[in-house]
């Protein structure tokens, strides 16, 4: 129906808030297909987020730094608690784990190129490490996942850090999923799977179950790699306070907390939208756990899930993160959902700005696909440049805010620099509602 809002008002047409058009379409789709909707991307619903926080720039009571003349450093060290070789990154923005399989080879190469150009890390995903990815990534974090697809000790030794993945924000408690369209001969070979099958990988690790076992597992990984590499533990944000405490007890050097806005290559819509907690709610819980254990800033915290701007970076850090990770935003920087592909998106029944069918492998941008023709559309050199540009912008934006708050390093940002514009955000972030000294549930 092409009625405008005015038309609908004149005709007395009223849309149900409960059964709106999207809900009606979803019910029709379910009734016609008999199967749940699977898609990529993260939670699309409106959630309390970093937009609901504001910085208190310096004025009389605080002293700002000169925007273009005074230093504001951005370097960060990750994993110096136990590892002989911690990661020393130039910026506090890293690239989140995304698999070769979910993404094309050239897209993974571009992530490595872009990250390396600005001195930060990228991360493998379910399915193992490709030589192209290792070759193009100055710092590469190797994910250790329940499926153990492509997992081998040679790659473990080649990695700069190891990330034990317990879950991700888009689907805490869920395993991996890669539909047959994307199980190409190379992907199948790397994962020891028959070509073209619908791959649903396990949600639990095969050889450990609880936090005590994880302690032993982390020690095994350290022994195998001679205590050289930082060990990260990644959790999807749910019971974050407890999960972070247990991860620290198990020996994690770095804890990665991924909120429900964090992306996925393929997950059930119901899972993406209804399981997990928002990133904003998770960060203070993680920080509280670290502070109570007296390891805040000693065990580093990486936050992901909906990071888009330098303001988001600065706010996550001000709340207590040491770095952030970006996934969806990195893909957009590479060219995902770009208007130049509008006509192709239309052919797929989507549109630029809406495309989330990463599971189908039909991505016109050539990023979330294993189709050689589509993948060939994507230029890894241009993609890498675009990503590097975007990472520079995020960093400069975060520096702009940090200087305005009088900080000589972005990591000096603190909760005291923040206020909230909604009561929900004030309660979740544990900062005062703007113009008041009220923190709901606290003061």
């Amino acid at each position: 129906m092409s009625h405008t809002t005015d038309d609908r008002a004149r005709l007395g047409l009223r849309e149900s808030a409960t059964f709106d058009r999207q809900t009606i379409a979803a019910i029709h789709r379910a009734a016609e297909t008999g199967i749940y909707d699977i898609r990529g991307w993260g939670a699309k619903r409106a959630l309390p987020h970093f937009d609901d926080l504001l910085f208190l720039g310096a004025s009389m009571s605080r002293y700002p730094l000169e925007g273009y003349r005074e230093r504001c450093d951005t370097d960060v060290v990750l994993g110096d608690r136990h590892a002989k070789h911690p990661l020393r990154l130039d910026i506090p923005v890293t690239i989140a784990g995304m698999s070769f399989g979910a993404l094309s080879g050239p897209a993974k190469e571009a992530l490595g190129r872009g990250a390396s150009e600005v001195g930060t890390s990228t991360t493998t995903g379910d399915g193992g490490m490709t030589p192209e990815e290792r070759g193009q990534s100055k710092y590469l974090v190797y994910q250790y996942l329940p499926s153990r697809y492509g997992m081998n000790p040679d790659d473990l030794r080649k990695a700069d850090a190891i990330e034990v993945v317990l879950g991700q924000g888009a689907k805490p408690g869920g395993g991996g999923m890669l539909l047959g369209q994307k199980i190409s001969p190379r992907v199948a070979g790397m994962r020891t799977l028959p070509e073209g099958i619908d791959q649903r990988s396990a949600c639990r690790h095969p050889d450990w179950t609880g936090p005590d076992d994880l302690t032993i597992k982390i020690n095994e990984l350290r022994e195998i790699t001679d205590w050289e590499k930082p060990i990260y533990v990644k959790v999807g944000a749910t019971r974050t306070y407890y999960d972070v405490k247990l991860a620290v007890h198990a020996g994690a050097d770095v804890v990665v907390v991924d909120g429900m806005q964090g992306g996925t290559a393929a997950t059930q819509e119901v899972f993406i939208e209804h399981v997990g907690i928002p990133t904003l709610a998770a960060v203070p819980e993680a920080v509280r756990a670290l502070q109570e254990l007296d390891v805040h800033r000693d065990v580093q915290l990486i936050v992901s899930g909906g990071i888009r701007t330098g303001a988001d970076v600065a706010k996550a850090i001000a709340l207590g993160a040491d770095a952030v990770a970006i996934g969806t935003a990195a893909l957009i920087a590479l060219g995902d959902n770009h208007p130049r592909h509008e006509s192709d998106y239309r052919k797929l029944g989507s549109a630029a700005g809406f495309f989330d069918d990463f599971q189908d492998g039909t991505d016109p941008a050539g990023i979330s696909t294993q189709d050689p023709e589509l993948a060939a559309r994507f230029d890894p050199l241009e993609g890498g440049r675009r990503l590097a540009n975007y990472l520079r912008v995020l960093t400069m934006e975060a520096q702009t805010i940090a200087r305005a708050c009088g900080k000589g390093h972005v990591l000096h940002l603190e909760p005291e620099d923040l206020v909230a514009v909604t009561i929900e955000a004030a309660a979740m972030a544990r900062v005062p509602l703007a113009g008041t000294d009220w923190i709901p549930g606290r003061t």
């Binding site: 297909t33 008999g34 199967i35 499926s147 153990r148 997992m151 081998n152 000790p153 040679d154 473990l156 539909l179 047959g180 994962r191 020891t192 799977l193 028959p194 099958i197 619908d198 649903r200 396990a202 095969p206 050889d207 450990w208 076992d213 032993i216 597992k217 020690n219 095994e220 022994e223 195998i224 790699t225 001679d226 205590w227």
Partner: protein, 228 residues
């Protein structure tokens, strides 16, 4: 003849032992005594050497082994030979759960019994168990062969891919998509070879049943929803 190098884990920290076993150009033979249930003994080996562990070991003994021939004169805890790539691991006693988990290659022999999830997620390893295995063994097993000379617990081979399972005794129940399959000449020969390599050459292969994937769940379809 090269000398046997001895490590006494009551006298030398595990870190030093594993570090010594990771030395470049490693050769020869090694004996580790008094493991006393220690975890991560002889993990991350990548040399064609022989390591004998005299005693019981904890979790992940011989984890991610490459090339080495490792013998454990005792029982092994959870995840023995997990993610092994090549070489062999021989447990003279029993093994706890997740023996050979996710292993890509090599041979694991357990002369006694193995607990739950034996061969879970296996990706090419050959496993021979002298006795019984616990429940959920060969869960999501992708490739390789699992030979069980005794009985298997519940849900054997649940969601199995292309791994092959041979069982001589009783199977409490089969998991989703796992079915009994015909033993052709190729399978008898394969089984005979595996048993011989594990020192059980006297077994009559005709007393074994082969199990594998029905391949009916390889593509997600709503009609199969009840099978999961």
């Amino acid at each position: 003849m090269e000398q046997v190098r001895a490590f006494d884990l009551r006298a030398i920290p595990l870190r030093d032992v594993n570090s010594a076993l990771h030395a470049p150009d490693l050769s020869g033979e090694f004996v580790i005594s008094h493991p006393d249930g220690a975890h991560s003994v002889a993990v991350g080996m990548d040399a064609a050497v022989k390591v004998t562990v005299d005693g019981h070991v904890g979790y992940y003994a011989a984890g991610m082994n490459q090339q080495a021939e490792i013998v454990i004169n005792g029982n092994a805890g959870t995840g023995v030979a997990e993610n092994m790539m090549s070489g062999s691991v021989w447990v003279k006693g029993d093994a706890s759960q997740s023996a050979g988990a996710s292993a890509h290659g090599g041979v694991l022999v357990v002369e006694g019994n193995a607990a739950a999830r034996c061969g879970i997620s296996m990706k090419g390893i050959d496993i021979v168990i002298g006795g019984n295995v616990g429940h959920m063994s060969a869960f999501m097993a992708q490739a390789g062969r699992l030979v069980i000379r005794g009985d298997a617990g519940e849900a054997l081979g649940d969601s199995i891919y292309e791994a092959r399972i041979y069982v001589r005794g009783e199977v409490a129940s089969l998991g989703a998509d796992c079915i009994a399959k015909e033993m052709t000449r190729e399978h008898h020969q394969e089984l005979e070879h595996l048993l011989k390599a594990a020192g059980f050459e006297g077994d009559d292969t005709s007393t074994y049943t082969r199990y594998g994937s029905a391949r009916s769940l390889y593509h997600f379809h709503v009609d199969n929803a009840g099978s999961y």
